[in-house]
Symmetry: C2
Subunit: 383 residues, 2 copies
């Protein structure tokens, strides 16, 4: 395996827009000012000023009042994902996920022994007819789903967003089956274009609602700052399962100071740079792969989901791309049952213009060289 030069694999943030000087200043300020807090345990909710900043972020985006005491800081949103699995289900219990989902979540729930049912995706998010059928089937089998996990906006990996009308339907279905919905909204603020869709909690005050979000996508994943939003008693149920004595006060205080005037200025700045990369990738794909593949055109987020021709030998493709320094995540990594589906995900957030320009022809060549026929086999749609 040669060195990876074109890393379209990992979902990192953009180092070009990482606010070094502002974070340096924030760090210097808070290490002196918050010495007392740094010498104490943060408590289960976490450093209050960052919870307040995140409540403001949520309020600004959703137009509803968010109580900072219903926000719990976590070690990345993955700690919140895991807590949901631990607090709401037992080994062997059934849960619902999208048929393609975030590998971190799938891996956590597999490790917890949860039995995942994957619901078909459409360009409007989870297929709600299938969801209803599956919830009914699980209920009838005596193993009702313990929760529904959904990435409803700029879904990872597909980039799809569920429209408001279908969100309302989802809420009704969940209520009808008395099942909590865990909405993972990590990507929502990586916005490029199109209509914004409200988070489920902004449409529904059902106390079973759990909402997850993160700073990994709008700032940096190395900060390991995520959060969940839930109301008591659900809040307490999740907290009861937490035993790490709270999240990092140092990172939280630095970031709270950085965001003291809100998250939006830096978020917009970051998104403008990301939009250019997205467009460069979409243009490059059009140029090099339009005759062979179809892919998503995400209105936000960091990922493009691509359908390969059926006649591509996917093991061969992996070998060829690795040998040519090109990395991606294969469809199998996202499938709830690890099925080797003919897809791949391209992450573009951290790549340079040059890496994108040079990398896509490498991918195109490898795909062509991995085909086992010469037939025209372009699909017209992603599914």
């Amino acid at each position: 395996m040669s060195e990876i030069i074109y890393d379209f694999g990992s979902g990192r943030s953009n180092p070009e827009t990482f606010p070094i000087a502002a974070l340096q200043k924030a760090a210097s300020d808070v290490i002196a000012r918050e010495a007392e807090a740094l010498n104490d345990y943060p408590g289960k909710l976490g450093f209050a000023p960052l919870r307040e900043a995140m409540a403001q972020r949520e309020s600004d985006r959703e137009g509803v009042v968010v109580d900072p005491d219903h926000i719990v800081l976590t070690n990345g949103s993955m700690q919140a994902v895991t807590l949901c699995g631990e607090a709401l289900a037992e080994r062997g219990d059934s849960i619902i996920v999208e048929e393609y989902s975030y590998p971190g979540t799938l891996s956590a729930y597999r490790s917890l022994g949860l039995e995942m049912t994957g619901v078909k995706l459409t360009p409007d998010g989870m297929c709600l007819d299938t969801l209803t059928t599956e919830l009914q089937r699980l209920q009838d089998s005596g193993k009702p789903a313990k929760f529904i996990y959904t990435i409803s906006t700029y879904q990872n990996p597909t980039g799809f967003t569920m429209p408001k009308t279908r969100r309302l339907e989802l809420i009704n279905i969940a209520r009808q089956f008395d099942v909590p919905v865990v909405e993972d909204n990590c990507y929502a603020d990586v916005y490029y274009e199109g209509e914004l869709q409200p988070a489920l909690y902004a449409l529904d005050d059902d106390p079973r609602q759990i909402y997850l979000c993160s700073l990994s996508k709008i700032l940096a994943p190395g900060l390991r700052l995520g959060y969940f939003l839930a109301k008591p008693p659900m809040l307490d149920k999740l907290l009861a399962r937490r035993h790490d004595a709270g999240s990092n006060t140092l990172a939280a205080a630095i970031v709270a100071e950085f965001y003291k005037d809100g998250v939006w200025t830096h978020t917009k700045f970051g998104n403008e740079a990301l939009l250019k990369k997205r467009d460069q990738v979409l243009d490059g794909l059009d140029e090099h792969l339009a005759d062979l593949c179809v892919w998503s055109k995400p209105e936000g987020g960091l990922f493009i989901w691509m359908r390969l021709p059926d006649d591509v030998d996917r093991k061969e493709l992996w070998k060829r791309t690795q040998a040519n320094g090109f990395a991606y995540l294969p469809g199998v990594a996202f499938h709830y049952r690890n099925a080797d589906v003919p897809y791949l995900r391209l992450a573009f957030g951290h790549l340079t213009e040059q890496q994108i320009a040079e990398g896509l022809p490498v991918l195109a060549r490898c795909i062509k060289e991995s085909r086992t026929s010469n037939e025209a086999m372009v699909h017209n749609s992603l599914f």
Copy 2:
């Protein structure tokens, strides 16, 4: 409840020796230098330079070679405590703890549904005869202990340290019963006097060994930086249960930079200040409570364990101390079965000279006023 003025309750670090200027400089350096790492996920082991610094810390203290790749950074040592419970045992399984132990650990293991057997403590640590009897009893009952959790140096809350000869015995007993030992060594580097005792891993290369340590006591708990040390396959077994995508790179990088010349200069500086506080508390107790109570004289750590006269109404004592602005943790918080034992723990690390000087007479007065008899009831020993 009035405001707490004399907080002998929480085990915080000393804000007076918190190295503000050095951490500010470290933060400024690493935010620029490690921008690439901050924009990526840390991986399950965590930021390598801090693992290397902690391997050096361990090597220096124990005189054995420690592989940084056997060190895993965690969100405080509590995440490691929890991972051990999750990875080594299932709900309903038996484990062994000391009869008095760290409340965070007890709370985590209770929440995981582990059935704890508490082993009697002596001034030389866990009573090994009782340990053998209990391991045998559990084995005979068909529910053998899944692991032994021990704080072998400056035990929390008692301050006791297990001598080397007994550590070797403990290792033999554990081997005989084929049970892993989880050694929590969070307090070891808060050293005042006396002979240093080796960590179990330095005496034993049994691959079942798990060792936990932290920066909460020698630097600050708000950094949420702990670690565990384990060899494969035990290392992998614990990692398989971790799903938070790794520990905080920002905090880890700042602290690694701060410790680039080793942990000892700052640790000694901190310990000198803590030793003065310990002595002030011991002197104050001698002055105000010698006729009524006995307490530990710890050679390290942040806690003093005190035995109350049998005739103290402990509910009354709690009420009176709270009303007078004095906080402590009652014995019940440390007992593995929440038994309301006649003890309390005094934490002194973060208190000012004035708080100690003014607080201890308040405690003494409250204890005297909470007695239900006038008999001379001093115990001669802690147990």
